[in-house]
Amino acid sequence: MKKTCEIAVTVNGTVYEAAVEPRLLLADFLRHTLGLTGTHVGCEHGVCGACTVLVDGDSARSCLMLAVQADGRNVETVESLGSIAQMNALQKSFHAHHALQCGFCTPGMLMTATDFLRKYPLATDDDIRKGLSGNLCRCTGYEHIVKAIRAVVKAGENP
């Protein structure tokens, strides 16, 4: 059995080369190999959405992808959106609308919203709720998350 595979993955604009076991999940590659702990791991079977990242621009569960599958791909994590000093429009809106309590689900919420803001017109709040349906928040903060995303749609600040 082949022990490791050589991969080169672009994460947030930086190319990282590593030798990984084929079974290593992309989520664990990001967190443990690269130390990018912004991506959170909740359920590890594609239900909670906390580990959502963008792969070549499309949202994907990083617990349902192998790191080897990201070889040659462009991965964006929550760290790419901004910093505490310079948040992007979506992050600012989450802040302004109190769209998080404990923050565990927030990276997945942000990356999911980044993708569906680009892909769907989101004419109604129901459309936003549908978009968020694959992301669980155990602080029951959905109402404020919907408001935060609605404000971004209204301001035309789609990422």
Partner: protein, 289 residues
């Protein structure tokens, strides 16, 4: 909650993939979108010795129009189907149904070939293959063959693939003019697998139904067509009495199971309600409404 160790092969083309499958016997798994396979690996419900990754096979994800049909490559992602103008034009019922699959992140990765091969008994795409009379192309080291969707789904998560075979293409015959469609699904939460779902097409000639198709999912081990209900609609206009008779025929034709999510009685009830709604929508659209 981490996958067991396995060997990993990136297939560069279909020949490489089926050769790897043949070498591994039935001990390999094909990795397509991974949206069902990866959870099963994470839970260690599966321990394949080899994973054959088909994601990098060029030209396996495509949607192509032919004179009388549309060809769909097995690696076509759900989101591609959902947003394809070609699918929207010829199979609006498919565009609409596929938007009900999981969530955006799932639809970005999940593939039609994977969904059909996995054959979850409550999934939308197997039912659509059945509704639209799909023909499936299957490759193996021994050669290739085709199978009709109606012969493909054998039992719960069991299809006519022997473990060394790879589903490569799905062909859908275009629908006749004046065909209306309906799709109705009940889920506990947006994006869940269906408690029950019904899809229908009605092809009309004036005010008469000349062809009826009704497919169901979530109400048995495999998706199924409601042949009795279909045949009692043909030759008639769709009215209240036909609606009631079709609903009754559907409820009699199915034997749903009770599970954690719904009782058999609830599923049977829902299948009838959704059949009525799907047929009404198909009738309205068929008449240009």
């Amino acid at each position: 909650m981490k996958p067991p160790a396995f060997d990993y092969i990136v297939a560069s083309d279909c020949d490489t993939a089926v050769a790897a499958l043949a070498r591994a016997g039935a001990d390999a798994k094909i990795l397509a979108g991974g949206q069902s396979l990866m959870p099963m690996l994470n839970f260690r419900l599966l321990r394949p010795s080899i994973l054959v990754d088909i994601n990098r096979i060029p030209g396996l994800g495509f949607i192509e129009e032919m004179p009388d049909s549309v060809r769909i490559g097995a690696l076509t992602r759900h989101f591609q189907l959902e947003t394809s103008p070609l699918i929207g034009k010829h199979f609006p019922v498919l565009s609409y149904a596929v938007a009900h699959v999981g969530h955006l992140a799932i639809r970005n990765r999940g593939t039609i070939g994977g969904s059909l091969s996995h054959a979850d008994p409550a999934a939308e795409l197997p039912m659509m293959a059945l509704l639209l009379g799909a023909t499936l192309s299957i490759a193996s080291a021994a050669g290739s063959r085709t199978v009709a969707a109606r012969d493909f789904f054998l039992d719960t998560m069991t299809v006519d693939l022997d473990g060394t075979e790879l589903l490569t293409e799905i062909v859908l015959q275009k629908l006749p003019p004046q065909t209306g469609w309906g799709f109705e699904e009940i889920v506990r939460r947006q994006g869940d697998f269906a408690l029950a779902a019904v899809a229908a097409t009605l092809t009309l000639s004036g005010n008469e139904i000349v062809q009826a198709r009704i497919a169901l999912t979530g109400v048995g081990p495999t998706p199924l067509r409601a042949a009795e209900a279909e045949s009692l609609l043909v030759g008639h206009a769709f009215d209240e009495s036909r609606r009631r008779r079709a609903i009754e025929a559907v409820r009699e034709a199915i034997s749903p199971e009770t599970d954690l999510h719904a009782s058999a009685d609830l599923r049977r009830h829902l299948a009838g309600v959704l059949t009525g709604r799907a047929l009404a929508a198909a009738w309205r659209r068929g008449r240009g409404g």
